[in-house]
Symmetry: D3
C-alpha cells in the first residue's frame, strides 16, 4: 500500500503548493467546501467516499477515482463493497466507464487486498 | 406521497409496455442488469440507491434523479442523509447541477418529509 | 407519421427564422457544415443518420434524438436496425440513457412501424 | 423584457425558499461561492457572465443558460457580443448544443433587442 | 499493423485477468452484454463498430476509440468511411473532440492504410 | 516560456500534417470554422480565448485547456484574470474539474508569470 499512498500524498502536497501560490478566495473556499462535504455527518465518511467514487467513475475522472479508491480503503470499504460500487457506476455510466473501472481496480489491487 | 408514487408507477408501466414491444435481447438483458445492480449484496439497497442518486445528479438526468429519490425514500433514507448525498453531488458536479438538485428537493418535499 | 413530421417541420422553420435573424458567419457556417456531414459520401445517408442517432443518444439530447429518429425512418432504417442502434447507445452510455431511449422508441412508435 | 425577468425572479424566490428549507452548511456555502465567483474582480461582471454562459451552453443546461442570458443583458452585453459567445460555445460543444443555442436566442429575443 | 494490434491484445488479456479476479455477477454480465451488442444482427458488425466508434468519439474516451478503430479496420472499414465517421463525431461533439480525433487518426495511420 | 510554446507548436505542426493527410471537406471546414470563431469581432481575441478556456475546463479537455492557456498568455490575460476564469470553471463544473485546473495552473506557471 505504501507506494500508492506515498505517491498520492507527495502529489497532493505539490498540488497544494501550486494551488496555494495562485488561488484566490473563490478557489480557496471551493477547496474548503470540497473537504467539508466528505466529513462525518448524518452519513459516515465511508459512505461519503463511496458516493464520491461512484460520482467520479460516471464522470470518468481518473485522478478523482484514484483519490476516492484510496480514501475508501482508509475508511474500511471491503473488496466486495468496492466491486458493488464500481458495478453501479458501470451500469449507470455504461461501457465508456470500463477503462476507468479497470484503472480503479488496478489501484485497489495495488492497495493490497 | 401518493401522487408522485402513483404517477411514477403509471409511467413506469407504460414505459415497460413500450420497451417490451420493441426490445431485443441486448435491451432486455440491460434492463435485467440494471435491476440486479441495486439488489441487496455486500451493500444494502439503501446505500445502493444513494449511489444511484448521486451518479444521476452529477450526470444531470432528471428522470433518473426522481426515480432514485423515490427509491431512497422507500429504503428509509432520512432528510439529513438525502441533503448530504445531494451536497456531495453538488460539490463534485458543480453549479450546473443546481437546477437538478432543486428538482430533487421538490420531489423529496412532495414525498412528505 | 403526419403529426410528428408536421410538428418537426414547423418547429424547424420557426427555428430557422430565429437563428437566421441573429446568426453571424460562424453560426451560419456551422449550420452548413452540419448539413454537409450527413450527405451521401463513402457512407450512405442511412448509415450517417444512424451514426448521428447513436451519438445523440449517448450525449442524451432529446431534440437531436428525435431529429435523427425521423431521418432514420426517412432513410429506410428498419425497426430491427433501429433497436440495435439504440442497444449500442444503451450499452455504451449506460442506464442514464434509458429515459432518452424510451422517448426515442416513443417517436419511432408514432412514426408508424 | 418584463415577462422573462418576472418569471425568472419568481422562480428564483420559490427556489430559494425550498433550498433554504432543506440546505445544510455545504449547500449554503456552495450557493454563497456561486454568487461570489461572478462578482467584480480583475474581470468585470459582464465578462464573467459571458464566461458563465459559454460554460452553461457547452454543458447544455437550459436553466443555467437562461439565467446567464438574462444576466448578460443586465450587464450590457450587445447582440453582436451575445452571438459571438454562443458561436464559440457552438464550435467547442458541437451540434449537440444547437437546441440549447436556439433556446438561448429565444430568451435573448424576448428580452427585447 | 502488428505493433498496435499486439499491444492491444496484450493489454486486453492483462485487463481480463484483473477484471476477472474481482468481477462480481453484475460486472461479468455487463461484459457479456458489451460483446453481444456488437454481434451480427439486423446490422452487420462493420456498421456496429462504426456506431461504437462515433459514440466513443463524442464521449471522448481514448481507450474506447482505439479499440473501435482497430475493430473497424478488422471489419473492412475503408479510410474514406473512417474519415466520414470521425467527421460526424466532430460536428456532433465539437472542437472538444479534436484531440481525440487526432489520436484516432494516429491509430488508423499506424494500422497501415 | 520557450519550452511549452515550442512543444506546443511542434505538436501542432505534426498534428496538422496528419490531419491534412486524411481530412475530407467536413473536417477541413470544421478546422477553418474553429479558427474563425476566435478572431477579432464584437469581442476581442482576449475575451474569446478566456471563453474557450472556461468551456474547455468545464468539459475537462487537457489538450484544449493547454492550448487556450497559452493563447490567453499571448493575448495578455493577467494572472489575476486567469485565476478568476479558472474559478468560474471550477464553480460551474465542480470538483471534478480540479485535476484539470491543477494542470492549467501548471501550464500557466511554466509560462513564466
Amino acid at each position: 500500500m505504501v507506494k500508492i499512498v506515498a505517491e498520492f500524498r507527495q502529489e497532493r502536497e505539490a498540488l497544494n503548493d501550486l494551488v496555494m501560490k495562485y488561488a484566490d478566495l473563490t478557489i480557496k473556499r471551493f477547496y474548503g467546501l470540497d473537504s467539508q462535504a466528505y466529513r462525518e455527518g448524518a452519513l459516515p465518511p465511508k459512505t461519503k467516499e463511496m458516493l464520491g467514487l461512484v460520482a467520479s467513475l460516471v464522470l470518468r475522472c481518473d485522478d478523482c477515482i484514484k483519490y476516492h479508491v484510496i480514501r475508501c480503503k482508509e475508511e474500511g470499504v471491503s473488496t466486495d463493497e468496492m466491486v458493488e460500487v464500481l458495478g453501479i457506476g458501470l451500469v449507470v455510466g455504461g461501457s465508456i466507464t470500463i477503462p476507468h473501472l479497470r484503472r480503479a481496480l488496478q489501484a485497489w489491487d495495488e492497495l493490497g487486498n
